[in-house]
Amino acid sequence: MKEENETRQSILARLIPGFVSLTKHGPSGWMVIIGLAIVVVIVVMTAIAPWVAPHDPIKSNVGPLASPPSWQFPMGTTALGQDMLSRILFGGSTMLQVSAISVLICFVIGVPLGLFSAYVGGNLDKTFSLIIDAVYAFPGLVIAIAIAAVLGPGVVNMALSIAVVYIPSYFRIIRSQVLSIKELTYVEAAKSIGAKWHSILFKYIFPNVVPSIVTVATVNFADAVLTAAGLTFIGLGVSVSIPDWGYDLTKGRELLSNGGWWVITFPGVMIILLALGFTFIGEGLSELLNPKLQR
């Protein structure tokens, strides 16, 4: 009993240290804090947008068409005369949702699959690996377009396209980790004293795999944001009646070739910031949790 509590305690102690203790861990700790701060600010900004935004983000002709930032429109207007500031405030929601849902799907499918397959081993493992390799070798673009065409555009479907491409990565990383852990002596010892497979898996193996999962998840988040922007670029984004940074980034390209920098730059910076936030968290955490780097 006590042992179990201690194991849980150790996971928590490594995953969610208090902010104060984070700062004690040097620059890596600071990276995590900054990353979290960026993400939290963006989430909050998107949440309070309906109350704070000065204009309706999709209403056209609220201002002159494609006008540069001014006092009235601090971030300028789009080619349809929409207010950029309002669109920036509202526009993160699609990306946040897409990345969150895709990470969730990957987690729910990829992690158990990898754990199970590697632990059981044998032919089951070989079969799963083969299938996952095939999925990995399938161009993600084709999957994305196929899903969008069959299921229609939308947040969940974009997340699904991204998740399908990422699950192999989760699977592979977890599988290689489990493969090396399961040969360790203390796991053998546990088996010899008759521990059930599920307690071995969750008490001994899973906690050691968590750091890699966390790292991959944050990279997944960042990549999902960028992939969502890329999918919108080729026309697979959400409907035009939903303000979206990726949409403005795509449309802003046309304006940029004509000298209008504001429609592409502000969403571009926001997308970079969001991706950065997730990456900082991932970088920092991977350094903190990587035992080989502890002096």
Partner: protein
């Protein structure tokens, strides 16, 4: 020591990223000199060729189009394929450059023509002294061969232009009356026959290169890649494709051109270069990488380039229209009043001004303005005529608390220009009435077409490019079965059939006006706007005609 090395490396790498571009530029100059000095004749020749190209003899045209399939008149049905074919081949008649109506035909390979009174027999006198390659003189047998071939290939090329235009349905047979006289016998009286003869699918082929099987693109030989007789102002000298898309097309002045006395073509060499989308094309013309940019120029680009002293923007009429379609087989659009109410709430000028920045004009008839039979029929409904909308809908029980709700679909893969922006504005205009609520839905082109055929869309936006310039190729859109609006009107159809059976322009105008008036009462299909054509060139380029045919006649262009 080691630390300093590292710092130096970092600094060097970071600087080199910025400096490498400059290095290439300068080293290009340096190496070019060294090459000339060290007597590498090939390099010198190429450099010389490039310089020559920049003189008045070559025009570099940038475009986002690409030949879709082949340059075979029996198959090609795409704009760009037809455009290239127009430069190298010829038809019996063509439309005069600068035409406003699309029906002022001029002599091309035919010098005179007349039709029987029942419009079923058409005789043409052909031009003498026109030579195909190898000194074979053009005569009536070539005309017969071309049309017989086109019709014979219809079963094996069902998606081609002759099939789509109905050559086998229209033409009964072609007769050689004498060396320079040919006769077409039609199956029914067809007034717009000259229009059909002016299209690219009626171009004359050279039997030597036109077997009775379609001719495909041959990578190594431009001459063997098209069956067309090279009787036009240019010959195809090079055609390179990669993965089904054009990489390079080169046209050179045709020494055997029958109209060479006119001084055309002015520019002796044309090089086409293919860009992926309008933004990259716009950058290319802005940077001076090409002399001319044609299709597609976005409205924003045109607006910005107007003020750019390094380029000239050309505007012209267009014939591409877009229109609203309603699914009339079920609620809510089975009620005529609902369709009329929605049509009245539309605001065309906001769309043409906001989305297209004036490069499109509102359309109040399915026939483009300037063409025979065009009217302003739909203007009786007004634009953003909310009082009318509200009163009509109120009769059916719709008001602010019980709004008319429906889905408006648009295609989202770039098949039509700015579909998403258009849809947004239509939704706004309709919802501004206060009694309508619109949900926007989108699908990529293939799914959109499927949805149309399966009739699952309540309201959708569609577009139309004409094959030939006659109201005959527009008016039927009001009831076209392939639009799947499930709307039929036998009165309109009979008016239409009467109009195509006479050449009396007054009568035809009356008939089309009647069709328009009925359409405005029924609103099965509501015309939205007509596009204009845009081209951008360097300031030293002249002779760009952007007329109602939307054909770019490159032989008229000069520097």
């Amino acid at each position: 020591m080691a630390n300093r090395m590292e710092t130096i490396i970092i600094v060097l790498v970071l600087i080199s990223i910025v400096v490498s571009a400059a290095t290439v530029y300068y080293s290009t100059n340096m190496l070019a000199n060294i090459t000339a000095l060290s007597d590498q004749v090939t390099s010198l020749q190429d450099a010389l060729e490039a310089k020559l190209a920049s003189l008045e003899t070559t025009l570099v045209v940038g475009t986002t189009d690409s030949v879709e399939l082949t340059l075979d008149p029996a198959q090609a049905y795409d704009y760009f394929g037809w455009n290239i074919m127009q430069q190298i081949g010829d038809t019996l008649v063509s439309v005069s450059p600068g035409s406003a109506t699309g029906t002022d035909f001029v002599a091309d390979l035919a010098t005179a023509w007349n039709a029987s009174s029942d419009l079923k027999t058409w005789d043409f006198e052909l031009r003498s002294g026109v030579y195909l390659s190898d000194n074979v003189e053009f005569n009536a047998s070539h005309v017969k061969y071309s049309f017989d071939r086109a019709i014979a290939l219809i079963p094996s090329i069902p998606e081609g232009a002759p099939a789509g235009l109905g050559y086998d349905l229209i033409i009964n047979h072609t007769e050689v009356l004498s060396t320079y006289k040919v006769r077409f016998v039609l199956n029914f009286p067809f007034a717009p026959f000259l229009g059909i003869l002016a299209t690219r699918s009626s171009a004359i082929v050279d039997p030597k290169y036109a077997p009775q099987a379609q001719v495909n693109y041959t990578a190594s030989s431009a001459r063997n890649s098209t069956p067309l007789a090279f009787v036009g102002p240019y010959v195809l000298s090079e055609w390179n494709r990669v993965a089904g898309r054009d990489l390079e097309i080169k046209l050179d002045a045709n020494p055997n051109y029958w109209n060479i006395a006119s001084g055309y073509p002015k520019i002796k060499h044309i090089i086409f270069k293919f860009y992926s989308d309008s933004s990259t094309l716009r950058l290319a013309i802005g940077a001076g990488d090409v002399d001319m940019a044609y299709r597609q120029i976005a409205a924003l680009d045109a607006q910005d380039l107007e003020t750019n002293p390094n380029v000239k923007v050309w505007h012209g009429k267009g014939t591409f229209i877009q229109y609203f379609c309603f699914q009339t087989k079920r609620a809510p659009f089975n009620e005529t009043k609902v369709r009329v109410a929605v049509a009245a709430a539309l605001n065309r000028s906001t769309v043409t001004e906001t989305v297209f920045l004036g490069t499109a004009s509102p359309a109040y008839s399915i026939i483009p303005p300037g063409m025979l039979g065009s009217t302003e029929a739909f203007s009786i409904l007004g634009d953003a005529n909310y009082t009318y909308t509200k009163s009509l809908l109120a009769e059916l029980g719709y008001d602010e608390t019980n709004k008319l709700t429906f889905d408006l679909w648009y295609e989202s893969s770039g098949h039509y220009p700015q579909s998403d922006a258009q849809a947004l504005l239509y939704k706004e205009a309709l919802e501004a009435s206060g009694v309508i609520s619109v949900t926007l839905k989108n699908a990529d082109w293939a799914s959109y077409k499927l949805n149309r055929d399966q009739e699952i869309m309540d309201a959708y936006v569609y577009g139309w490019y004409p094959d030939y310039l006659d109201p005959d190729d527009y008016a039927f859109l009001y009831w076209a079965s392939w639009l799947h609006t499930n709307y039929a009107n036998s009165t309109q159809v009979s008016l239409y059939d009467q109009a195509r059976a006479t050449t009396n322009t007054t009568l035809r105008t009356q008939l089309y006006a009647q069709i328009d008036d009925m359409a405005a009462e029924q609103c099965s299909v509501v015309p939205l706007f007509v596009s204009t054509t845009l081209a951008v060139t360097k300031p030293n380029v002249y002779g760009v005609y952007l007329d109602i045919t939307m054909d770019m006649r490159y032989w008229l262009i000069s520097k």
